[in-house]
Amino acid sequence: MSGTNNPGGEHQLPREHYLNATYGIRSWLLTTDHKRIALLYLASVTFFFFVGGIFATLIRIHLLTPAGYLVTPETYNKLFTMHGVAMIFFFLIPSIPAVLGNFLIPIMVGAKDLAFPKINLLSWYIYVVGGCFVLYSFATGGLDTGWTFYTPLSSIYSNAAVTPAVIGIFINGFSSILTGLNFLVTVHTMRAPGMTWFRLPLFVWAHYATSLIMILGTPVIAITLLLAGLERMFHFGFFNPAYGGDPILFQHLFWFYSHPAVYIMILPAMGVISEIIPTFVRKPIFGYSFIAASSIGIAVIGFIVWAHHMFLTGEATYAAIAFSFLSYLVAIPSAVKVFNWTSTLYKGSISWDTPMLYALGFIGLFTIGGLTGLFLACLGLDIHLHDTYFVIAHFHYIMVGGAVMGYVGGLHFWWPKITGRLYPEFLARTAAIILFVGFNLTFFPQFILGGLGMPRRYHNYPPEFQVLNVMSTAGASILALGYLLPMIYLTWSMRYGKIAGPNPWPATGLEWKTASPPLTENFHETPVVDWEPYDFVHRPDLGLTGSKPKLPGKLSPAHGDD
């Protein structure tokens, strides 16, 4: 562990912390401590991740042969639908915000808790109730509409258990809204003295942007699915062509949320990466204000690009051109982030710890995911690539290569803070590399499949596509192993890991100024912030005594943008 430990020898766990403050099942189920709620979320999103993962595994096994290997078409359709619903609504959207965000945001801004702790607990219960509805739907007939619930397939033609699933996602939406509301209010009103807006960690900026999307977008998906549900249950006609309704309108409403929802998944991961990189490079992040502003930019522009999912529905040509243009604009803030992260590495002091490996993996995969988005935003190419495996590969690079890598990397980075213990470094690096290799082997062939024109959501396919599908399935089996490993050693380390101490890396944020694990109130007394973010030079408390490289003459630190 290349020099990651504080000087000063062995550490001990603090005598009292949030994990041992009270005991018993009630103390967890009725807790209002944001850190415990984060762990409740950790358990529940992990559950859904494995539910979704099992579906994914079955899908990939099924696609080994052109004729379909394993299941009937009905079952296959249910598998990919339930994979999507479980992963998107119950894993990716809550993963980083509700687990890491919940745990860290109050500590990072120097508060004792979120603004509304009871609402925070409520949002977890809402999540659980929504999740139960969806699991009920999975268990009683499944769901075969695709996670997009396009009408009239979902509202009229499907014979599966659509209604409970729609209700479940509707309910779950309120969990998301309340989390976002809590974060926004907390960032506005609960900052510690000295914690100005431009001293906020970029993780908090990213979550601020995410929360904007959660509160502005989620109500729209809630009402949309409610309308589709009413159409299904009571034969109301909102989108039903038999009554003259327009199924395309459903898509407008659906994507008004569901496109920004992609940014709900990726922005927090970008926040995680923006924390990991300066810590392991030991230098200020390059272009702090540009990264912060690009988070907000992505959130805002992300709201005005949704109809690029609908270029080929018969949407007006003029509208399609406008949405394609806007979609290209959203590429710029994403690119700005990637360039700034890369530049941060320049003249750093880079350690090869696990979180850093995840961060670099993230940069690579997100870059590919982002760049392939340029193909799909392009009107001319979308005619060819729309609804093919190219789309599948693209959004898995963003969501799995981006969001999940960020999540797992973040879990490793803050694991010592959450549990007070370190994970086994060698195993963790191995797992990171397995994940990276497995991921690329799984999803890169799908770009080629998409270019060849293989449509998505096919339970069988023409034989010429087989080689690439077999490669993809092989990659998926490596990927599955990559996910099981951290699951095992992280659980193991909760009890047997080496004790970490308050600031093992060391890092500069407020969360590292308190004990690991923190006490229930986070800080003994309200901290006062008098340092700039990611500043290692003026922080003798970090105990870094090594040599400082000379400043290059060309790139002076003072550009007023920090």
């Binding site: 809204i177 809590n182 209010v185 009103t189 609960m190 309308l227």
Partner: protein, 249 residues
């Protein structure tokens, strides 16, 4: 939930606590704006496409009941504002009285809504297999409680609409779209009213204990914000649903 003036652990001052609660409420209302925005959008697109059928549907609603309900709801918004004022000026008895007045007005609104829904049911205007927009014009005037003139107007209007829409099937389909939206929108609104009534009931119970005064009135103020928001939704629903084509009738 909140005890009088108590400061919660996560806050430093009472002012911070109040500011936080108000900001939180407003952010919640923003989500409500977008929530209702989704239905308003659905309404706009469909009305844009089928103006005739929507006009016929709108004229089947009872303008008197709708108008009266608008007045009732605006009055309840006023009494709600007054109860906030009473709390801010520590007139504790008046807080309770104004809250009770608000609750009564809200209940009247919901009662009228029930009467209207019943009427629509009797007139075969519930979307589904029994839906028939021509029911009242086909039946004798008395069946739908119309005067001879009103009935004659409706017969003519429906006849014209059938012509414009290109057949009774098309008119029925598109009018069903209108009534789906009518029930969807007013139903969602009524649901919000019911939630609001529950919150008011809780406020009244708390207020009777003399909880709210100039120092502590956040719950009255925030539930007041919610109530006004629900009023605003109706301010838009009324013209959009009831007044589409009144000049034809």
């Amino acid at each position: 939930m909140h005890r009088t003036g108590e400061l919660y652990g996560q806050y430093k001052t009472l002012d911070q606590q109040k500011e936080t609660a108000t900001l939180g409420m407003w952010i919640f209302l923003v989500t409500e704006i977008l929530f209702f925005g989704g239905v308003f959008l659905t309404y706009s697109i469909n009305r844009h496409q089928y103006p005739t059928a929507f006009g016929v549907g709108g004229n089947m609603l009872d303008l008197f009941l709708g108008g009266a309900n608008t007045v009732v709801l605006i009055a309840s918004s006023f009494t709600m504002a007054m109860s906030v004022w009473s709390a801010q000026t520590s007139k504790k008895a008046w807080v309770t009285l104004f809250l009770i007045a608000t609750l009564i007005l809200g209940t009247v609104f919901l009662g009228v809504k029930v009467v209207e829904y019943k009427q629509k049911f009797d007139h075969h205007l519930i979307p589904g297999h029994g839906f028939d927009i021509t029911y009242c014009s086909k039946s004798p005037a008395a069946v739908c409680g119309l005067s001879e003139k009103e009935h004659a107007d409706e017969v003519k209007e429906v006849k014209d609409a059938i012509e414009t829409e290109g057949g009774v099937t098309a008119l029925n389909a598109h009018a069903q779209l209108y009534f789906s939206l009518y029930f969807g929108m007013t139903g969602l609104h009524a649901l919000h009213m019911i939630v609001g009534a529950g919150l008011l009931l809780w406020l009244i119970l708390e207020s009777r204990k003399g909880r709210f005064d100039a120092n502590y009135n956040t719950p009255v103020e925030n539930i007041g914000l919610y109530w006004h928001f629900v009023d605003i939704v109706w301010i838009f629903l009324f013209p959009l649903l009831y007044l589409i084509n009144r000049h034809l009738a």
